[in-house]
Symmetry: C2
Subunit: 196 residues, 2 copies
């Protein structure tokens, strides 16, 4: 991890794999697909990685570490509840922008990967994510900024779903920046679509 013999090649292969996993799904991507895209033969991949699972493992765990570091920063900050909620939404859309493939893989294949012991940490991350959002929502309600008649569990799910599923249609470099999308979403979430 810290002193890889040939970090560049390894990372390049991971990037290629991530792209394919995101596009076609983990199970639907063969090691031959990855090797083809990299311009080598499938057997050669095993010089770099133990297995296909090792690849997706490294892709996801690296990404999650960064993302949850950002959530932790928000929770540790002394911003007011509304600002913290906004930052959390912005950070998430930023992840969709900068780590599109990783988010897509997590969205599409986490349920399957979770059936293996080595990916149990993905379930732990899910719980951690729930804690982040629930904490933000609760402090918003406590501070009187958010409605107190909401089912917070449902509210959390709606926020989580809407934010992350955007990876299925958002494309970096498209008509709207991820920041514009995040702000439009926050406007709907906070104020609703009804007039008045």
């Amino acid at each position: 991890m810290t002193a890889e013999p040939t970090p560049t090649r390894r990372e390049e292969l991971l990037r290629i794999a991530a792209r394919l996993f995101a596009e076609k799904g983990f199970r639907n991507t063969t090691v031959r697909d990855i090797a083809d895209a990299a311009g080598i033969l499938s057997g050669s991949l095993y010089h770099h990685f133990d297995s296909k699972e090792s690849m997706v493992d490294e892709i996801l765990s690296t990404f999650q570490e960064e993302l949850f570091g950002q959530y932790d920063e928000i929770l540790a900050s002394d911003d007011d509840p509304r600002a913290r909620l906004e930052r959390a939404v912005l950070v998430s859309f930023d992840a969709i922008d900068r780590h599109h493939d990783e988010v897509a893989i997590f969205q599409n294949d986490a349920a399957y990967l979770l059936t293996f012991d080595r990916f149990a940490y993905l379930g732990e991350r899910n719980r951690q994510s729930r804690e982040v959002w629930m904490t933000l929502l609760r402090s918003g309600v406590d501070a009187g900024v958010l409605r107190d008649d909401l089912d917070l569990e449902l509210t959390y799910r709606f926020i989580r779903d809407t934010v992350w599923v955007a990876v299925s249609w958002y494309r970096p470099g498209g008509r709207r920046t991820h920041t514009e999308i995040a702000q439009q979403y926050l406007s709907i979430l906070l104020e609703g679509i009804e007039r008045g």
Copy 2:
């Protein structure tokens, strides 16, 4: 289609297949899985169906026909814009409740299936769905019921995403009915989560 020799057995097999496709994904479900669950051998399935694709085809097309019939009813009604939007959301959550497997399959596997010519109608249904929601939103804005500063395209995507992705966590018979969930969601969508 209209005068099947043994409609009951066929439908039973489709129900079993739908359950498995929804649980594990279309590609990740083998014909042996389906046959095992039905208590027969894999070869016997081909007495009833041409292929695995034929099965998912019949499952999805039947479901879509019903769902879009309901949307058409809403569009044809003379309810006011707000009521029509509410009905569309309720009908969608109702589909998640009554056709859980079908919605899950469509959510998870439509992108893959769309790569085959025979599933082109799924893309057509996607366009149709967009038309339904955009029509509802536009008439809401025109009637002065909805905010006129919204990016309707984004608003449509947020609504669609949040509604349908609920199939990933909603379980019939759970703590909240699908109607309660739909109403809570409508409340957030229309009024926002901010106090005031």
